[in-house]
Symmetry: C2
Subunit: 211 residues, 2 copies
């Protein structure tokens, strides 16, 4: 538990730095392949029209996700953990050395694909967004509750696949709200663009209210 | 590293116990929602016709998966880790107290939905099977390589959804074989039953060859 205490101190340092530079920070968590990078690709194209955006990518191996973000013409720093299954505040602090916070309005941190231990490691973000895909089953909020409890937003992604699944969207939302009644829920598709505008508009107004 | 060394000693004890009772043990790993429990439901219905099968379920919270296995009329023990993101050999050893190995030919262990740290914890199994869903993207073997490297079989599940995805099945297989050229690969669908017979036949003959 000493590790978590130390991590939370560094997270608080990160947060103070973000606040002093007026940067609003959002972290994305999910199972591997739920669509974190895809949601970033869709959202950044819209947000960067009038906001200065940047991304910190976290992965166990490869910089493939950072390459996708760089291809969208957005500044990105890739953290490769070489095995650690979650990002820590210290890693984010190191990554910030490569960024100029005075040039950023909105900073996204894509965490490692893992629904469990990233929930315990604050990074200094203002908002944690958990993404759940319609292809993963309705029961994930009940089976992996800590992540849903410690997030403020749930994005239910891949709704374009609903016609081909026996997925019960209302039940999945009910399970999520049972674990965390305060969750704000968006439904999106990164392939059709469904729901991306509501999500980015909400982000824009939430960021404006904070900084 | 002392933890892993101790774990591997207990895993070896488990393996010797399995061998002395003639039980063939298969562990299933994947991201959350790839279809571990669904593959068990489909496979056990076929295998239990002429083999004595049993399951150890591992989850962070709930016994929902064990309930699904019990509903298929198969003996099952549920391990609830209350937060630990992987099963350990000690937990399996405890679960074995509730099972009579003389009554079992084939034992399945469903690990916690997590593509990262379960790769480091041997449980005493003869075979580790990693399941990847067509809905997660082709890149998971490259991004989460340890799990693919330490598995002997890859099951590519949810192939029924291929017509609705831009998923490149051959590329996904190529990435998996790049990480582990020895992987045996099956393509399945737990909703249409596609590939389930080949997979269960291969399991049956592999188990027969071992015990
Ligand atoms: N049909 C459909 N596919 C999607 C959607 N969003 C993402 N995908 C696909 O899902 C797969 C995984 O997407 P990624 O964006 O790489 O997922 P991720 O969460 O960033 O994955 P990791 O970083 O490896 O954990 C890719 O094949 C995407 O094309 C969606 O809304 N609908
Ligand atoms: N279309 C389709 N859906 C599937 C298939 N296999 C499983 N599913 C669905 O995928 C979702 C998750 O399946 P599960 O079997 O619960 O997955 P799991 O890997 O056991 O999940 P956890 O134990 O929570 O990690 C459910 O909604 C299943 O109905 C398949 O082959 N095709
Ligand atoms: Mg990604
Ligand atoms: Mg399961
Ligand atoms: Zn971790
Ligand atoms: Zn773990």
């Amino acid at each position: 538990q000493k590790i978590l205490k130390k991590n939370n101190e560094l997270a608080e340092e990160n947060r103070q730095r973000f606040d002093s530079h007026g940067v609003f920070v959002i972290s994305l968590v999910s199972s591997p392949g739920s669509g974190k990078t895809s949601l970033l690709e869709q959202s950044l194209t819209i947000l960067k029209k009038n906001l200065r955006v940047a991304v910190i990518e976290g992965d166990v191996q490869t910089d493939r996700d950072a390459q996708r973000i760089a291809a969208a013409d957005v500044p990105v720093v890739q953290i490769v953990t070489n095995g650690t299954c979650h990002l820590e505040a210290r890693m984010v602090q190191d990554a910030l050395r490569e960024m100029d916070l005075d040039e950023i309005d909105l900073l996204f941190i894509e965490n490692i694909g893992n629904l469990i231990c990233p929930a315990s490691y604050e990074l200094g973000e203002h908002l944690r967004v958990v993404i759940m895909s319609t292809t993963e089953g309705e029961d994930k909020p009940l089976k992996y509750p800590a992540m849903f409890r410690r997030s403020q937003v749930l994005v239910l992604n891949k709704v374009d696949l609903l016609p081909f699944l026996s997925y019960n969207l209302e039940e999945a939302k009910d399970f999520a709200l049972r674990v965390n009644p305060a969750l704000k829920i968006f439904e999106t598709s990164c392939t059709t663009g469904h729901g991306i505008r509501e999500w980015t508009e909400w982000l824009r107004s939430t960021a404006r209210g904070r900084t």
